[in-house]
Amino acid sequence: MKNLTESKTTKRPGIFADTYGGQYIPETLMTELEKVDKAFHTLKDDPDFQAELHDLLINYANRPSLLYYAKNMTEDLGGAKIYLKREDLNHTGAHKINNVIGQALLAKHLGKKRLIAETGAGQHGVATATIAALFGMDCEIFMGKEDTDRQKLNVYRMELLGAKVHPVTTGSMVLKDAINATLQEWASRSEDTFYVMGSAVGPYPFPEMVKYFQSVISKESKQQLKAKENTLPDMVVACVGGGSNAIGSFADYIDDPSVKLVGVEAAGKGVNSDKTAATIERGTVGIFHGMKSLFLQNEDGQINPVYSISAGLDYPGVGPEHAALAKEGRAQYVGITDDEAVQAFEYIARQEGIVAAIESCHAVAYVEKIAPTMSKDQIIVCTLSGRGDKDVASIAKYKGVDIDE
């Protein structure tokens, strides 16, 4: 795939905009990373691997996902025409499965018998546990204790699928701590184990690999919109945690300058508050979790605790390619607060009859703001990264409704 931001001047792989990305990970894992890199670059051009991947995406994951014209929202908002890319309709209920199928196939080709992964909201953990069950592999999931508490349903789903879930009690007990724990586990046991990275983060080749497997989102949406409207969208909107559904939603449009790309971060209680996860808007350059990127950190480089109502966006960093797209001005990143996201959760449910993930509702909330400012002949494609069943109980609680789980 052609790529505007991939550096041409440096020989180091995986450096974006001459700055972000790279490999910053303990030596113990480097040989393994080299193997993953080699396998990925060999297999992605291998027709048998492609056939296997394609078959699983179509026949197991339920791709292609629908590009749905949200007529009610479009009419209600009175501006741009709104299409929803329905990743929530994938098997396991989120975009995460696209990436997991790809990486698990890679793991299989590398002869691995065991998959490990971090998870925030639990969607990536569920997807990994699902594929491990399908492939007959062992599976262990690391999840911050805060998140096992607010996403109990997904914890049970993972266990049902045969995975072992480890609640992580170090640090702030959320997604970043789960990534620390999974990296540590991988460092102590890599021979038979593959770390299925859940977002477009981490050391090279993970950001590139996750983008590759998620780019199916934009490849499809481009074709689908062409079939329906015979044009490119004017804007693509997706929520950004680590940035996998967003980079997948953007990938095929990066070289189409007329398409505006908007990543929506979780602003928590407000972009300028202490309780936020708006990494690109508030973060500074740093080196963490294997990559140089933007992070919410203090002036000494200690990583800050972050906050969002959404467990899947509660991450102090962002994938290096997003940091690069922001730096180059190719994509724009905006913040949506908890309140706005919860309002969008209710809005899309009532307008379209879709209960969408609270992560995705950050993107929906932005669409609600921007669509009315655009003209009726313009088109927005908004990615619904996941379905919201997992969030119903906690949103009810947020609204002060007492329901028996």
Binding site: P26, D177, S188, E299
Partner: protein
């Protein structure tokens, strides 16, 4: 390049580790002095990081105690400055790259030179990323101490050939913390490193008893002990310096035995 590697000439080195500002400023200074007086050849000082991905529970807990004490990067420099009034023991820092990056590679290395800190161990900076900092470190005669792991395989050669100061040989897979078993190919790994470079080797990760220290010093040119000392600090708190000095003496004696036995072979 510093003169760190000189320390290992016909001498098995003992390199203990403490976390800066654990549990407080004065105790850390006293611990550094105790380590020097107990017979440490190089003292490794950990600059706490919020997310120490190469460290096990003992060192994570020490980092938390240091944060409770309000540690900043500049506090760590002040601790070394205070210790320098009483000891000339060679010092290296262990920290994660973000801490150095945020301080500024140049400012950080300059500060190290000022304080007589000879090297940096950065567990999340592999060979591929060393060019980020090595030119700056060279400018101030600071060694970037590379790590070589049991999984390094074909990477050993390039890492060894680029090394200066000493090479940190990781005893086993995973993270820091006391262990009773090590990778059983350590002898061969050290021999392979030796075939590429004269830069000395020190084995660390999990070593805690004098017996293990002697065995490791028998294999390599030195031994690094972290969690066992940090554990003493955890238990003894402000009374740690005395216990640390005693422990250091016991390891010193074990490492010296390895030296004597090797001289006789």
């Amino acid at each position: 390049m510093s003169n760190l590697s000189e320390i290992f000439k016909n001498h098995k080195a003992f390199i203990p580790f403490v976390v800066a500002d654990d549990p407080d400023f004065d105790t850390t200074v006293a611990n550094i002095i105790a380590l020097a007086e107990g017979g440490a050849d190089i003292v490794e000082i950990g600059i706490p990081f919020s997310d120490p991905i190469a460290d096990g529970g003992v060192i994570q807990a020490a980092d938390l105690r240091a944060f409770d004490a309000g540690v900043r990067t500049k506090t760590v420099f002040e601790i070394v400055e205070a210790a320098r009034k009483q000891t000339n023991v060679p010092i290296v820092f262990l920290t994660y790259l973000n801490i150095v990056f945020k301080y500024g590679y140049d400012a950080f290395c300059q500060k190290c030179q000022e304080l007589g800190v000879s090297g940096l161990v950065i567990p999340d900076m592999p060979y591929e990323s060393r060019e980020d900092i090595v030119p700056t470190a060279d400018k101030y005669d600071i060694d970037i101490i590379p790590l070589i792991a049991p999984t390094s395989g074909h990477r050993v050669e390039k890492i060894a050939k680029a090394a200066s100061g000493f090479i940190y040989v990781v005893s086993s897979l995973g993270i820091t913390g006391e262990r009773n078993e090590f990778f059983n190919g350590l002898k061969d790994l050290v021999a392979e490193i030796k075939s590429y470079t004269d830069v000395p080797t020190a084995i660390g990760f999990g070593v805690h008893t004098p017996k293990q220290a002697k065995a490791m010093a028998g294999i390599a040119d030195g031994v690094i002990i972290g969690s066992a000392i940090v554990d003493i600090v955890a238990k003894q708190k402000q009374n740690a310096p005395q216990a640390i000095e005693k422990y250091t003496q016991s390891i010193r004696a074990a490492v010296d035995e390895a030296q004597t036995e090797e001289a006789h072979v």
